[in-house]
Symmetry: C2
Subunit: 265 residues, 2 copies
């Protein structure tokens, strides 16, 4: 249990709004298919040609988070990048965000954490651990993804789902009179399903310059049905354990605060 | 201060040993230049054509670390990937290592941390925080990089330095009678120098399929002289602060153990 809070949040989306109908025409599928299959009526794409990308979105979200939290940018003592896909192979996204926020000479430690879509929540948990251990006091988390320029060549399944957006948060200790607490964190990874949602390129295994690397290797590939089957099989046990642990932590906390109250009366 | 220890380590290098003389011939530089400039007499490259790569090296190192630590693979409750460059864009390297270690259905949580060359030390520190907070008990860290297939097209400066290798460690709590402690951790990031050592490609900013992405964007670029100047300017203060803090922590620990001893006598 960690006494931390999100002191401020920010978000940004690509400036080009694309309705599902427009996309359906381009994808050559029947009208209404996307909303029926995904529930998504519109998404936002970056204006990549005019310099909008995952870096600019992340910076916009971060500035908003800093402003909303009311802190001074100089108070930030750690920046965690938590993108679902990399901005570039080297260095970490966090250091690029740091530079673009005008903090490039500050020395503020920067690193990325990565579990693809789960990266923001993992970053929040890692931040909570570091704050709890008094390593850092004020951590900026930025999560930004802009895959839209690659989408026209992906499968309809992928194309229907993805848009471009960023979120950022300032995480600090909760004050004594504040109730915000991170009760419990649980993550499970099933590497046996690693190929069900992947971009096989981009790194040293299928390097962009390797003539054997195919265009598809650099695109997001998803086997939605198989992912769904994994989820159906694994999620019930996961949630049962998760909620039992959360309830346990909350009950113990209540007992503790009752005892504390009683001892003070 | 975290009471943790490295319970076992493993390492692996590419199976092709390349002497600096051989490389000098290919690079068309004077004999002895590499040893004089870098001190490196030979390096190991993966046999990429025959299936050796950053993934296989990492798995080899991990198996050795598990064996050396004497633990059961089932005891591992977290895997952290800490590669300097990505294996592939999605998912994280740790989940691929998990799968190749035969733990793909175990659910063991996997994630990567990234600060390029500093990733292993960061992973060790993050692991120490998680163990200290009783989140996990036995963390496997794997750090593996195999850039050699890209090197023939890089600058001589880069080509002289890099080889392929992996390291892995099992991190656990120190037992009461064990002295191993992580005293202090300090990291600083200067994003203003992000372009001095970089691979600009591989992600969404300069996507492999984007016709504007050039071959050089996908290669490691380094401005060694400028990096050196950064280091000369920033390291003295960094180390002064670092060692002062370490000495402070050690002195406080000694005072604490003296008081404890005295109170027990």
């Amino acid at each position: 249990m960690f006494k931390v809070k999100i002191a401020g949040m920010g978000k940004a989306v690509g400036s080009l709004k694309v309705k599902s109908e427009e996309l359906e025409e381009k994808m050559n599928v029947t009208s209404g298919w996307i909303v029926k299959a995904t529930g998504i009526e519109s998404r936002h794409y970056v204006d990549f040609e005019n310099g909008e990308n995952a870096l600019t979105l992340g910076v916009k979200a971060a500035k908003q988070a800093i402003q909303n939290s009311g802190i001074d940018p100089e108070q930030i003592d750690c920046i965690i990048g938590a993108n679902g896909s990399p901005l570039q192979a080297i260095p970490c996204g966090a250091s690029l965000f740091q530079r673009e926020l005008g903090l490039g000479d500050s020395g503020i430690p920067c690193f990325d954490v990565d579990t693809t879509c789960y990266s923001f929540r993992l970053a929040l948990f890692v931040a909570a651990n570091l704050i709890h251990n008094q390593v850092y006091n004020c951590i900026l988390i930025i999560s930004s993804d802009a895959p839209s320029p690659t989408l026209p060549k992906t499968s309809n399944e992928v194309r229907a789902l993805f848009g471009d957006g960023a979120a950022a948060a300032i995480v600090t200790k909760s004050a004594k009179d504040e109730k915000s607490v991170l009760h419990y964190f649980k993550m499970q990874t099933y590497g046996s399903g690693a190929n069900l949602t992947c971009v096989k390129g981009g790194g040293t295994l299928r390097h962009p310059n390797d003539p054997n690397t195919r265009m598809e290797d650099n695109l997001f590939q998803m086997d939605g049905r198989k992912v769904f089957r994994y989820a159906v099989r694994l999620l019930p046990d996961f949630f049962q354990d998760f909620f039992l642990k959360v309830v346990y932590v909350k009950v113990m906390l209540n007992i503790y605060s009752l005892i504390k109250q009683a001892s003070m009366e």
